[in-house]
């Protein structure tokens, strides 16, 4: 299976690119934590701790699965599947 991670603003600067495609053989789903570990293996850049804290999405970080905010999903941990696009945005709150 293949999933795409898109990151924005300081996360993009941290990762060095805005989009990364991760291929996971022999599996048909992957958790966010595992996906970010795969990203680290592939790029050498650890952005997991900027997105997850104590197994939860950090306050102030918005995660979207195929354009839908993950916090609108009712289940606990969401698993990603082949073809999914995960977007991570830390929105600016100031005015």
């Amino acid at each position: 299976m293949k999933v795409t991670l898109r990151v924005y603003t300081y996360l993009k600067a941290e990762l060095g690119k805005g989009e990364i495609c991760i291929e996971i053989p022999d599996s048909d789903s992957i958790s966010l934590g595992r996906l970010l570990e795969e990203v680290q293996k592939s790029t050498g850049k650890d952005i997991k701790e900027k997105i997850i804290k104590d197994n939860k999405i950090r306050d102030g970080i918005i995660l979207m699965l195929n354009g839908k905010n993950l916090l609108t999903f009712e289940s606990g941990e969401v698993l990603f599947h082949d073809g999914d696009v995960i977007s991570v945005l830390p929105p600016g709150s100031g005015g």
Binding site: Y8, K12, G18, D59, K68, G92, S93, G94
Partner: protein
């Protein structure tokens, strides 16, 4: 037609100018974003603007809040804004010195609301109040060198709350911010507002434009609306 519109008249036509002159906009927040939005709306021709802000001008505001100068420190922002904007052209400006809370009433004649507030508690609440009255809202938020803009249309797009669920709700004072980001994002907010009012161009409906001026990066996130 006022001579001040001569250079953009060919772009939006007499009908566009007329629509702007007849339009009523509420701008919530007269800080980094708000002062840019207000100045553009007045120069372009909006007829009536409600300005909501409870703050006073402080020296750290002067790095980006384009309508204020040293001599204005200590004055209510709304008073300075009205004085400065009236120097540009005659426009119906109504100052409202308050913070946005559950009891705030968006005036009935408002065509569109512009969110220039500095915290997501207020931003989400403002959109709730706008939706209650079936009013569209243009949102922007900034932090450091980046920010985002989107346009919320009742019954057509997700609410701001649903779109950006997870954003930091609490107000954090003194966030780092620089004029290049507030001017850029404020300009795009004003552009969305004007396009809505004259019915021209493409709006950021169910799309978030993310702008990072440090890396010259402009990206659009497509939002699933259902």
């Amino acid at each position: 037609m006022e001579e001040i519109f001569a250079r953009h008249l060919p772009l939006i036509g007499k009908d566009g100018i007329r629509r702007l002159l007849n339009s009523k906009v509420l701008v919530a927040g007269a800080g980094g974003l708000g002062t840019v939005v207000l100045q553009i709306l007045v120069r372009t021709g909006v007829g009536k603007i409600y300005i909501v802000d409870h703050g006073i001008v402080d020296e750290p505001d002067l790095n980006r809040q384009i309508l204020y100068n040293r001599g204005d420190i200590g004055e209510a922002k709304v008073d300075v804004v009205i004085r400065e904007l009236n120097k540009i052209r005659d426009v119906d400006l109504i100052g409202i010195k308050c913070t946005i809370d559950e009891n705030f009433e968006i005036p009935e004649d408002v065509d569109i609301v512009v969110d220039c507030l500095d915290n997501f508690y207020g931003k989400f609440l403002l959109n709730d109040l706008a939706l209650k009255k079936d009013k569209p809202l243009v949102h922007a938020g900034i932090s450091g060198f980046y920010g985002q803009v989107t346009t919320i249309i009742p019954k057509e797009t997700l609410s701001l709350r649903d779109m950006l669920r997870g954003a930091l709700i609490e107000k954090r004072g003194g966030l780092p911010v620089i004029a290049v980001s507030s001017f850029s994002l404020g300009t795009i907010e004003a552009s969305e507002t004007i396009k809505y009012l004259i019915g021209k161009g493409t709006l950021l409906k169910n799309r978030i434009l993310v702008v990072d001026v440090l890396h010259n990066d402009f990206q659009i996130i497509e939002i699933a609306s259902s």
